[in-house]
Every structure is written in structure tokens, then in C-alpha cells.
């Protein structure tokens, strides 16, 4: 089969080249202003972020805490939607050629847009992966896997401290990008007040499974020290709420984002 979208595997390349201490940042498309999306991608990658996750705002984001909820509400008020996002992303690959870009969001807006349409537009914009936390594994396999493959889009699935080992193996089998390790119980941005050693034991347990895919740790990572700590147990970490907070009320969001990323890495 000839792939219509035989693009380079940016996710794989990024992990292979850097190997460790990868920083993946999340922000919501259309926040704080409608047109901020692409300038922010440029700003954070210039500042050293290795991967970028772009949140597609949803009215009812069940897995998100107050900060990301609020950014989504603002983005929707600003007029963000799927068509606007794909229009904004046209040409992003001329400016940011190498950093993997992932879209993260909830299934309903994707379903209404049409899964095939969504995948085609994403692939044409140069998107590498998709994270849909409320898409069940079985439904993915039965209904969407083929479509994702056709457009060379990589799904990313979450793993939590409660995910059973067999299920982790299955997720690893279905993945060809990275595993998203949720650091503990809670929605995005929640501080993990877990007993000493509990989190470490979980990360080490996953590490010992020798999975095919690299791992990034997310939820509750917000500064240099939590980033460095997470990097001891995985190839890197994901920061979302803290970045969004850093852009709150500023005039120059890309500059604030740049400073924030530098503060995590330096």
C-alpha cells in the first residue's frame, strides 16, 4: 500500500535523537487569544520544548481541572473550533518543521467533525498524533484504528496507577509513539499529595515492564523540580496547567510561554 501521507515519523525521531528529558507542553488552541495558537507553538519550541500538545477546547472536559477548563471556556468564547484550528495550522510545518505536534481533546467534537475528516485535516496540517482520553480502547480498535493508520496519525493512550498490567501491555501493543503516564489520581493540574514513595513505586513498576514505547509523565508537573524528578523515571514529562497559568493576564502570551519553558529547562 502506498501511503498518501508518508511523512517522517517525527515522534520516533524526537525520542531517538534526544532520548531523555523530553519536555512536552500542552496549551489550549485559541487561548488566551484566538490567533495565539501558532505563535505559541513557535515560542515554546524555540524555547526548547520537544513536543507540543494542542488542546481542542470542549464544553465539558471531564478529565481537566479548573485551569484547563477555564482556558477552554475562553477559547470557545474567542471562537475556536475545529475548522478554525485546522485553518490556523496550515503552514505550521514551514515554521516548525521537526517538533511533533499532537492534538488532544474529547471525542464528541471529533465525532461531529467526522473522524475521517478530522484525521485527513490533521494529517494535511502535519499533525503527528492524537490524544482522546474518552475514546475507549475497544472502540478505537474496532472503529478508528484503520482510519488513524491511513493518515499515519499516532494515538496516545493514558496509563494510570490503577491500570492493570495486562491492560498496560495491550495499550503498549496498540501504541507506536509514547505512553502517557498519569502521575496519580486527579484531573489535570491537580497537585499529587500522595504518600512518600507511592508514585516512585508506580513509575518503577512501569519501567520494569520493559515496554516497547517510551514514556512521558503528566498531570501535576509544573516547574523545574517536578520536571526533573519525573525525568528520573521516564523519557520526559508533560506540562499543561502551569504553562496556561503563566499566560494568565499577560499582554504577550508567546513571550510568557517562552520564559516559562526556559524556567523549566534551565
Amino acid at each position: 500500500m502506498t501511503l498518501k501521507y508518508p511523512m517522517k515519523d517525527r515522534i520516533k525521531t524526537t525520542f531517538e535523537q534526544k532520548g531523555k528529558k523530553l519536555l512536552n507542553v500542552y496549551f489550549t488552541a485559541g487561548y488566551p487569544t484566538l490567533e495565539a495558537t501558532v505563535p505559541l507553538i513557535e515560542a515554546v519550541t524555540e524555547a526548547g520544548a520537544d513536543l507540543v500538545e494542542i488542546g481542542m477546547p470542549f464544553s465539558d472536559p471531564l478529565a481537566d481541572g479548573p485551569v484547563i477548563q477555564h482556558s477552554g471556556t475562553v477559547a470557545l468564547q474567542n471562537g475556536m473550533n475545529m475548522r478554525v484550528l485546522f485553518r490556523q495550522l496550515q503552514g505550521v510545518r514551514q515554521r516548525v518543521p521537526d517538533a511533533p505536534i499532537l492534538l488532544m481533546g474529547y471525542l464528541n467534537p471529533v465525532m461531529q467533525f467526522g473522524v475521517e475528516n478530522f484525521c485527513r485535516e490533521a494529517a494535511e496540517a502535519g499533525v503527528d498524533g492524537v490524544i482522546l482520553p474518552d475514546l475507549p480502547l475497544d472502540d478505537y480498535v474496532e472503529e478508528y484504528q484503520e482510519i488513524f493508520r491511513r493518515y499515519n496519525l499516532r494515538p496516545v493512550f493514558l496509563i494510570t496507577p490503577q491500570t492493570a498490567p495486562e491492560r498496560i501491555r495491550r495499550i503498549d501493543e496498540l501504541t507506536d509513539s509514547f505512553l502517557y503516564l498519569v502521575s496519580g489520581p486527579g484531573t489535570t493540574g491537580s497537585q499529587q499529595g500522595q504518600a512518600e514513595g507511592v508514585q516512585e513505586a508506580y513509575f518503577q513498576r512501569i519501567e520494569a515492564m520493559n515496554l516497547r514505547n517510551p514514556r512521558l509523565i503528566g498531570f501535576g508537573i509544573g516547574d523545574k523540580s517536578s520536571f526533573d524528578r519525573a525525568c528520573q523515571y521516564a523519557e520526559g514529562a508533560i506540562i499543561g496547567s502551569a504553562l496556561i497559568k503563566a499566560m494568565d493576564g499577560v499582554d504577550d502570551a508567546p513571550a510568557a510561554a517562552r520564559r516559562f519553558v526556559q524556567s523549566v529547562l534551565n
Partner: protein, 401 residues
Amino acid sequence: MATSAFAPNARGYYGQFGGAFIPEMLYPNVEELRNQYLDILADPSFQQEYQQLLRDYVGRPTPLFEAKRLSAKYNTRIYLKREDLCHTGAHKVNNTVGQILLAQRLGKKRIIAETGAGQHGVATATVCALMGLECIVYMGEIDMERQKPNVYRMRLLGAEVRPATSGSKTLKDATNEAIRDWISNPVDTHYIIGSVVGPHPYPDLVARLQAVISEEMRKQLLEKTGSELPNYVVACVGGGSNAAGAFYHFLDEPDVKLVAVEAAGHGVDSGHSAATSVLGKPGIIHGSRTLLMQDEDGQITEPYSLSAGLDYPGIGPLHAYLGDSGRARFIAITDDDALRSVAELSRLEGIIPALETAHALAALDQIGAGPDDVVVVNLSGRGDKDLETYLKYAEKLTEQK
């Protein structure tokens, strides 16, 4: 129980509706429930405790009352299934009694719930007090205002009521907050969902726990009319739990016409409505694929109904399927028509219904029942919680159509 044609499949689908669209953080909890709920419900010790509580604590069986003056007015034979006489004043407690016993068997120590009208919150707070379990109820800020007496009742019962301040600040948002709480407390907490909504197995679990309503109806109808089967069963639908309970044992009886009554708010086309079966398209809400009020981008839109218990932008997947397959007929009733029915039942039968329930009553002149037909209306709850609203709209209550 012959409910085969309308039972969900192994993955929780009723036709194209249902399923479990949940983030991974909830997967172990929902999976635990899915693996165990049928065994626990079938367990003799569960059944014994459940039946005993339904009888001695809830006050079941609830009467089936022949409403003669109402019947005369509509020229048909109307029976009221008196769920308003349940302890706490609505059908909601049938579910919470069952789920608290389930939670105990799952070893859970902390109970969370969402509530709209406050009836489910009160029913949850009640069984938590009974069993000595911690109880946290999420309630939209707007609903806390319009159903104040129920907020006080929950607090008196020892529950913590947490306001949901996002979105439309009503039932949908309270449900979001309850789900987020569950994500944050995955091990010790059981989520007692209040209607036949949410990820599989909740719609089936709640329907089974409410099915006692139609089980009793069949026996009572046989006694009173000589037949277990009525011609019509009418119930209001928010998420659809009282309707699911009232329909359950009639689902496979094609001669029994099922009527589900939604809230039209200011009118189906007014832009202020909660008539999901008319305004909704297939989509995902609270872990279930069902009919959903949403905009063209798939953002969930804010419903409106004067009645807090019907102010929800989805319906349970069973009801989406019943509507889609033609098994149930859906009727939408406006705020004003519901208010008139409050006054009507109060004055004709001496029963003050809940505002939710009044929607079902207001459909009586649309169902097409004849003089010899037997119509059962599920009187899902009593109106005490709505007195402030009734006072505010006193003029509308008694104005003529």
C-alpha cells in the same frame, strides 16, 4: 424478567446508543462495577436486604391509585403510581438503596452523587446516613437556589453539598464535577449516579433498581383492572430513571404504549428547551453515546427547563433507543403547561406533584387514550421541594389554557 429485546449488549449498547466513553482514570472503577453488578444484584443476601429496605424503610409497595376526578376530566381511566409516597418523596430512593448496598459490597467508604432537583441528592444523603457512610453531593449553583429546601435536607442528613459553578451551573455541570471527584478518588469512592445515564453499566444498573416500579404496577393492575397490562404508561424523562422503572416490565409487551415526556421549557423551538429527543443528535455525554443537545461543533449546549430535574441536555441511552426504534413515543411539555397540571392535580385529587412529574400529567390530553383505556402515570415525586417556584408562578398555575 423478559426484557431481552431492550437489554444492553455486553458492551452496554442499546442499538447504537450506550457504551462507556470514559477516560482511563475511570476505567478500573467502571470495569469493577461492570464485572460485579449482575452477580451482586442476583445475590440472595443482597436481594434480601434490598427488599427489606424497600418495604420497611422506603415504604414499598407504593399504592396504585385510581384518580377518578382526573379520569373524568380526560375521559379515560387514569391510575397514579404513587412514587411520591416513597420515603424522601420521589422514586430516586429505590436506586440509592440498591446502590448503597452495592457500594458496601464493593468495600467503598465514601459516596459521591450529583443532583438536579435535589431529590437524588436527598435520597443519597439519606441512605448514607442510614449506613454511616461519608456523603458528598454536587449540585449546580442555580439548582441550589431553586431547590433550597433540598439543600437544607441534605445538610441536615449530614451530607456535604458542593456547588458546581461551571457551565450552566445545573445538572450537567454537577455531573461533570462528580465525575471529576471520582477521577480524583478512584479507590475508596463509589459514585451513585442518579439516573439511567453515564457509562455502562450505570444505565442498566439504575434501570434494574427502578424496575420495582413496573413490577408492582403489573400486580396492582391485575388486582384492580383484571389485567396486568395497561394501555398506556406515561412518565417524565430527565435522564429517564423513573420512566425506565415504569417501562421496564412492559418493554416486551408491544400492546402497552410507552409515553416519555420531556421538558420543552419555553417551547421546543424557543432556544430555551430541554427536549432532547427533538433537539438532540447522537453524541457523547457523561460517558454514554446517546441523543445530546449540542451545536454543530459538538459542544454541548445548555438546556433550559423551569424544572431542575429535567434540565439535562441528554437522555439515557435506553430512551434514545426506545425513541429511535419507535417503541416509545416522546412528547414535550412547556413550563406553563406543567405548572397548570400542578394546580390541576392538586385540586382534582388532593396531590401536589413535583414539577418534573407535572410534565407527565400535562401530556394526558395528547396521548390519545379513549374511555376504556387504562393509563398509568408514574407520579415520580411530590411537590414540597417546588413550593417556592409554585408561589412565584401562582398566577400561571391557575390560568386557563
